[in-house]
Symmetry: C2
Subunit: 252 residues, 2 copies
């Protein structure tokens, strides 16, 4: 009896954007472990145990999953989007690294998914058409001074910026502070997007600009994207404009 741990990215929401490898791993799992709303996205199967937990319990959840696999069970740990981008994969390897030596012999696989930033970009057009940085604005595990420093350097470098975890009840002011830092390096006309639940029925997309971007438009599920000098809008007859970033960059 050999256990196995699959760390699975479910994709952004629509079943048509979930990789067949992920669907197969979920179908074979004895146990599905994850944050409640993500576990709820996995089709129920007879005999399959579901372990839904609260947000911000990543390390406990990872240890539970590794323990179940060590006991011989086939376990799927699920994240929305891709598990490697501000989701469960790093928590699993942190738990492995600090766990009992026996866990090192476990069969583990990480099944990639379409991450939120990739899905949002596709919905908008091609805003990631040039160099980009992806940051979490959460200062639960890193000092806010580090976030500020990274924001300033990335904004100065002309990268397209994508923010995960932009805001929460416990972190109400960080997104506004982040916009202020970026405003020191980019004009008010710079496109800004608030996107949530892309490809799901409750999808919301707001395209605005840096001058008028209001942090209140975000909640904890929102991905915030800020364009760079080469990011442009193309009007569309029926719908919001396309957004893309030119591949060409002018000399400094």
């Amino acid at each position: 009896m050999t256990g196995r741990l699959s760390v699975v990215g479910l994709g952004p929401g629509a079943a048509a954007l979930t990789a067949p490898a992920a669907t197969a791993a979920l179908a074979q799992a004895d146990d599905v472990v994850g944050y409640g709303p993500y576990v709820a996205r996995v089709p129920e199967q007879p005999g399959q145990q579901r372990h839904a937990s609260d947000n911000r319990e990543e390390l406990d959840r990872a240890r539970l999953a590794l323990g179940l696999a060590a006991a011989g069970r086939k376990v799927a740990v699920v994240s929305s989007g891709d598990a490697g981008v501000f989701a469960m994969a790093s928590a699993v390897f942190e738990a492995l690294d600090s766990g009992p030596p026996a866990w090192a012999a476990l069969e583990i696989e990480v099944i990639p998914g379409i991450s939120a930033i990739i899905a949002v970009a596709a919905r908008l057009g091609a805003p990631l058409g040039n160099d980009f940085c992806v940051l979490s604005l959460s200062d639960n595990l890193k000092p806010w001074a580090v976030v500020e420093r990274r924001l300033a350097l990335a904004a100065e470098g002309g990268f397209v910026l994508a923010f995960y975890n932009p805001i929460s009840r416990a972190r109400p002011w960080q997104l506004g502070a982040a916009f202020d830092i970026v405003r020191q390096h980019r004009p008010p006309s710079t496109p800004v997007v608030f996107a949530a639940a892309v490809s799901r029925p409750d999808e919301t997309i707001l395209i605005t600009d840096l001058g008028s971007a209001d942090p209140a438009a975000a909640d904890m599920r929102t991905l915030v994207l800020i364009g760079c000098e080469g990011t442009r809008l193309i009007p569309r007859a029926d719908g919001p404009p396309w957004l893309y970033t030119a591949r060409r960059v002018a000399p400094p």
Copy 2:
């Protein structure tokens, strides 16, 4: 008779990592347009026209695809990985933006895919567990001075770094120069990965460090990943070590 243009990311290679939405769009396409090796990955269908072209002809290819769609055909433009990350999507919108006004009325959709960086990260463990930057090292469309500046800022900021287009016959020295820039900000022990063809039969993964990273280990298909201060290795009994980046960041 209404044409349609689908810009499709095929995923990194394995069929199990191609989104069902991509597979469906390809099955419905009258025309498949793309770089030869990517068009070759699309299952052939009776009656479907295939337009395989050489590398570095993105804008011509985008115009061909838009023209076919404007003539009423269902067209799929294909990229490996995700079309929005240093691939065809931005070329399509550049062509749209500078093309005949009639193109603005075309039905266009971008179908996201699992990008190379996401697939590579999953194969390694969780190296993107903290803030990261994705850069193209190609100076075909942006001055090398811009690449240098972005590299220095991103390295200084402690981001995990991922390089697309690290090297080619026409750009033989850029990757070495990039390593030299990063070496000014990170110790020789920093993990470096060269990954190519992930999830395909010819997959190659080389895990080394910044002190000994040799640009000759890369070719134009290679994705290069450089860890940050929090990137760690976990030895595995049977196979290369796991690589992950801790979520926690120490105060500066």
